[in-house]
Symmetry: D2
Amino acid sequence: MSENAEKLPRQPVPALDEILGVPFKVLDDGFVRVVDYMGSDQAIVQAARVSYGEGTKKISEDRGLIRYLLRHRHTTPFEMCEIKLHVRVPMDCWRQWIRHRTASVNEYSTRYSVAIDAAQLTSPGEWRTQATENRQGSAGNLDQKQGAELSRKETVLHRQAREFYDECLAAGVAREHARRELPLSTYTEAYWKIDLHNLLNFLLLRMDSSAQQEIRLYARLIGEEIVRKWVPFTWEAFLDYHFNSLHLSSLEIQVLQAIGAGNQKEALTRAENFGWLEKSGKSLKRNRERAEFEAKLRLFNLPTPW
Amino acid sequence: MSENAEKLPRQPVPALDEILGVPFKVLDDGFVRVVDYMGSDQAIVQAARVSYGEGTKKISEDRGLIRYLLRHRHTTPFEMCEIKLHVRVPMDCWRQWIRHRTASVNEYSTRYSVAIDAAQLTSPGEWRTQATENRQGSAGNLDQKQGAELSRKETVLHRQAREFYDECLAAGVAREHARRELPLSTYTEAYWKIDLHNLLNFLLLRMDSSAQQEIRLYARLIGEEIVRKWVPFTWEAFLDYHFNSLHLSSLEIQVLQAIGAGNQKEALTRAENFGWLEKSGKSLKRNRERAEFEAKLRLFNLPTPW
Amino acid sequence: MSENAEKLPRQPVPALDEILGVPFKVLDDGFVRVVDYMGSDQAIVQAARVSYGEGTKKISEDRGLIRYLLRHRHTTPFEMCEIKLHVRVPMDCWRQWIRHRTASVNEYSTRYSVAIDAAQLTSPGEWRTQATENRQGSAGNLDQKQGAELSRKETVLHRQAREFYDECLAAGVAREHARRELPLSTYTEAYWKIDLHNLLNFLLLRMDSSAQQEIRLYARLIGEEIVRKWVPFTWEAFLDYHFNSLHLSSLEIQVLQAIGAGNQKEALTRAENFGWLEKSGKSLKRNRERAEFEAKLRLFNLPTPW
Amino acid sequence: MSENAEKLPRQPVPALDEILGVPFKVLDDGFVRVVDYMGSDQAIVQAARVSYGEGTKKISEDRGLIRYLLRHRHTTPFEMCEIKLHVRVPMDCWRQWIRHRTASVNEYSTRYSVAIDAAQLTSPGEWRTQATENRQGSAGNLDQKQGAELSRKETVLHRQAREFYDECLAAGVAREHARRELPLSTYTEAYWKIDLHNLLNFLLLRMDSSAQQEIRLYARLIGEEIVRKWVPFTWEAFLDYHFNSLHLSSLEIQVLQAIGAGNQKEALTRAENFGWLEKSGKSLKRNRERAEFEAKLRLFNLPTPW
C-alpha cells in the first residue's frame, strides 16, 4: 500500500439495494428478505489481490479472476462478503437450516414472546409420497382425494394444538413450557448472517435435488433472487464450477481411461476389480457406484462397456 | 522434546471408563451416556507445558496449574480434551442445545427413519407457570388439579398427533413430510461431540438458573455425573472460578471503592451519576443495574448506601 | 413482521465513513485502516429485538438494551456487525494475531510476490527488558547506550538478511524458499474481517496489559479509534462491563463475606482452608491467588485480614 | 436405543497404538508424532448409523458405508474422530499450517521460554528455483555449486541471527522482544488437535502438488504413516474419491458431451462460446481453462477436438 492511501468509499450493489428489506414469499407463509450486506464481486477481487500483492485491474479481468478462484477452491476471498437475511421458516425446516454452524443467528424467542400463530399447512395436492429408491426423500404426490382428507385432518390438528397452547398460556403456564405442544410445522423467524463462502456451501447442499423440498425452495430463492443480484460473477462461476459440475472418482477415471483408449476388455477388467460387476444369476447385481458411473457415461454420450 | 521420545500410552480415566455406555436418565424418557472421550486433567497440563516448554511435574502442581489456567482464561489447553455423548432429548430442548455451534453432531434422521415414538409428557404437578419479573423464565407450578386437567389434554393431543403421523405414513406420505405434524415435545437422539473448553461454556450457560429447566437438567447431569469424574481438577476449578464466581462492573467497582473507604456521600454521588438513583415520587425507580449491585452487596454482607 | 415490510435502507455510520480507507499508523511502519463494515449499534438492537419479538424503540432505550446485553453476555446480537480491516503488521506480531480463529483473512503472499521490504526496527530507547515476576512479559527498557549498540547491530542484521534474500532471488531461488531467511520482524499485510462479538474478545485479550506491547498497540488503536466511532454504545458498555470489570472467584466471595460481616476470624479460617496462608518461617509464603485477592481488597479500599 | 444399553468399551486401534508417541522425522530437524486419538473407522459407522437409526452391521458393510459417506460428502460422521499430534515445524511452514482454523493448538511460547535453537538449513542440492508458469511455486533446483555457496551463507546468517538473539537475552532484553530477530526458518513446536473431517481437508490441500514442499512433506507423512493406520477404510476412500478424483465443470461437461456424441463441430462451437479458442495470429491464445480441459482429455485418452 502506498503511504497516501486513498479513501475507500463503501461500494454499494445497486441491484441488491433495490430489494433491501423486501420480502420474497416462500411456502404458504414464509419469506426471505435481505436486511444488510457487505462486499461485492469487487471486494472478492480486492481481497484476492492483497494476497497477490497487486493493485486494481479492469472489470473484464475481475470476472476471470473470480472464476479462477472458485474453480480452484481458493475460498478465503469469498469470506470477505457478508449478508444478513431475515427469514420466516417452519421449525421443521429450520432444524435443517441451523445445522450450518458458520452463520450468526438471532431467532425469535418463544420463551420471551408468544409463538407465531402460523403453521405450515399442506394443500390437498401437495402431500408428497415416500421415495422408494432414496430412503430419505420423497417422490410424487398423493392423489387429490386422499390429500384432501389429510389436509382437513391436518388443519384440525393444528387448530387443536394451538388451542391447547393458548389454553395453557391462559392458565398461566410459562411460554417456555407451553410451546412444546406446538407442531414442528409452526413458523419461526430469524436474522441469519453468513459470509459468501459459507453461503455457497449452504446453497450447494440445499439447492440440490436430494435436499428436502421446503429448504430447497428457500435455497433456490436465495440463490436466484439474491446472490445472483449481489455477486453476479460469483453466482455464474458457482453454477459452472460447483453446482452444475461433477466429480469423477479415481475408480471412474481408470475405467474411463480404458474406454477412451477403446480398450473395452481393460475397462471390464478394471470394473470387475472394483467389484462393480458381481452377478446375481444372469444379471448384474445392484451396485450403487456402478450405477452412478453409468449415469455419468450416459451424460457424456459415451457407451457403457458392460 | 528429547530426541528419543518416549512412547506415549493413552491415559485412561478409570472413573469415566466405568460409566462408558451407561445411560443416565433425564426427564421422563431422555438420557445421556458417554460414548468415548480423549484426554484428562493430565492432558491439559501436558498441553499447557508445551506452551511453557517444560516437562512433566508432580500431580500436586497439576492441580495448581489447572486452577491457574482456568482462573486466567487460558482456554486453549482445555480444547485438548474431547468427549462424545449419546443423548436423547425432546426436540424443543434440542433446539436450544444445537445453538452451540462448536460441537460435532449426528442426529437421528426422521427423513430416513420413522420418528421415535415418544414425546415428553408433563405430570400434573409439573406445569410451570410464567415468571413475572423474568419475561423468559418460569417460576413455580400450577396446582395439581389444574395440572391434572392439562396433563390429560396433553396426552390426548400427543396421541392424536402420533395417530395422524402414523396415518400419513400408512397412506404413503414421505417421512420427511409427515414428521412436521409431530409436536416439539417429540424425542430425538444424537451423538454430540465437543471439546472440554466449549463444553464448559455450554455448562456455564445451561446449568445457570436462567436456563430453561429441561436443558438445565441435562447440563447439570453432564457436569456432575460426567465432567466431575472425567477431569476432577478442572471441574472443581470451573465451579470456583466460573460457575460460582461473579463479575463486578467498572461502575460497581467505583461505588464499592467509596463504600470500602467509608465515604457514603461519594458512594451516593457515584451511584447518582450512573443513573441508579432516579426517583419516582418518594421511592427509587426500578433500576435493574442497581438491583444487581444491591444483591451483590447483600451477598458480601456490606451495607447498601441508599 | 407485518406483510407490508418496509424497505430497509443500509444504515451508514457517518463517523466511521469519515475514516474509511484512512491508515492509522502503528509501530515504525505498520498501519490499520477500515476497508468496509456492516451494522451499527442499531443493528445490534434490531437483532436483539427479533429475539424478543418487538418493534423498534427510541434511542435512549437502545443504549440501555445494549448495556444489558453486554452485561449479561447475550453475545449473538453482536455477531450481527462485521468489520473488515487492512493491516500491516510485523510477522512476529501477526503470529499472535492469527491465533484468533474466528476471523476471515487474506494475507499478502510471499510465495506469489517479493516480500515487503520493511522489518520492524527497535530505536535505542525501546529495548524492553525481561519481566521477572511475569515470565512471559517485559518490564522497563535498557538504557539508551546499551540500546544504541543493539539497534546498530539489529540494523546490520536486517540488512544482511534482506541482502541474502535478494541474492537468493537473483540466483533464481523460488520466493517461497528464499523468504525463510527473513527475520520475524518483517512486515506483512492482510485483510482481516471479523464480527463485533469476536472483535471484542480479541480486544479484551489484546488490549490487556499482559498482552505483548506490539499487538497491544494495534488493539488499543482498533478499540479507541475505530470501534468507539463505529458502535459508541457498545464500546462504552464493553469498557464498563468487560475491559474494566473484574471477577471474584467463589473463594474470594467467601472471604469477602466474612470481611463484610466484620468477622475477621472467619475470614482467616476460610483463607487458611483455601491454602492461602501457608507460612515459610515467620512470613507468609508467596501465593498467587492470595496476592490477586489482596490487590482486589486494596482496590476496594477494604482491609486485608491477615 | 434399548433401555438396557450395553456398556461401550473404548475401541483402540492397535496399529495406531503401536506408534503412539513415536516421532516421524520430517525435514532436517522436524517431526510429527501422535499423542492421542479418539475413534476409528467403526466410530464413523456408528455415528452414521445413529442418523439412520440402525444398529451395528458386519465389517464388510462398514467399508461400503464409509465409501458411500465420503463419496457423497456426508461429512459429519468423520467429525466424530479426533487426533492430537505433536509437531516440530519451521515457523515459515507453521505460518501456512495455522491458517487451518478448525484445529486446537498449543504452541511452544517464545515469550515464556528461550526459542528452540534450531533453524531449517538448506543443503547445497536443495535450493529450489522459481517456477515460471506457476507464480507461487518452485520447480527444480539450483546446481550444487551455486547451492553450496548459498548454503554456506545461510549457515553464517543463521549463526549471526542466533548470536544476536543470545546477545540480546544476555543484555536483559525480554524474550518476547528478542525473538523477532530470528529467521522464519526457526523451528517451533506445537500440540495440534483436529477432527478427521477437517484433517482430510488439510491433507487434500497440503498433500497437493501445488502446496509448498515443506508442508507437503508433513502432510504426506501424516496421511501415509498415520491416517492410513488409524482409519484404513477412510484413507482408501479419501484417496479414491477426493485426493485422486477430479472435477468436471459445467463447461467441460458440455464439450465432453459433444465429443462423446462424436459431434466435433458442436464441441468446437461450445468451446468457442466459452471463449476457449481465441486466436493470436495463427495459434490459439493461452487459455488456462482450455489447458485444464485438454489435460483431462489426455488423461481420459480422448482426442482434443481443436
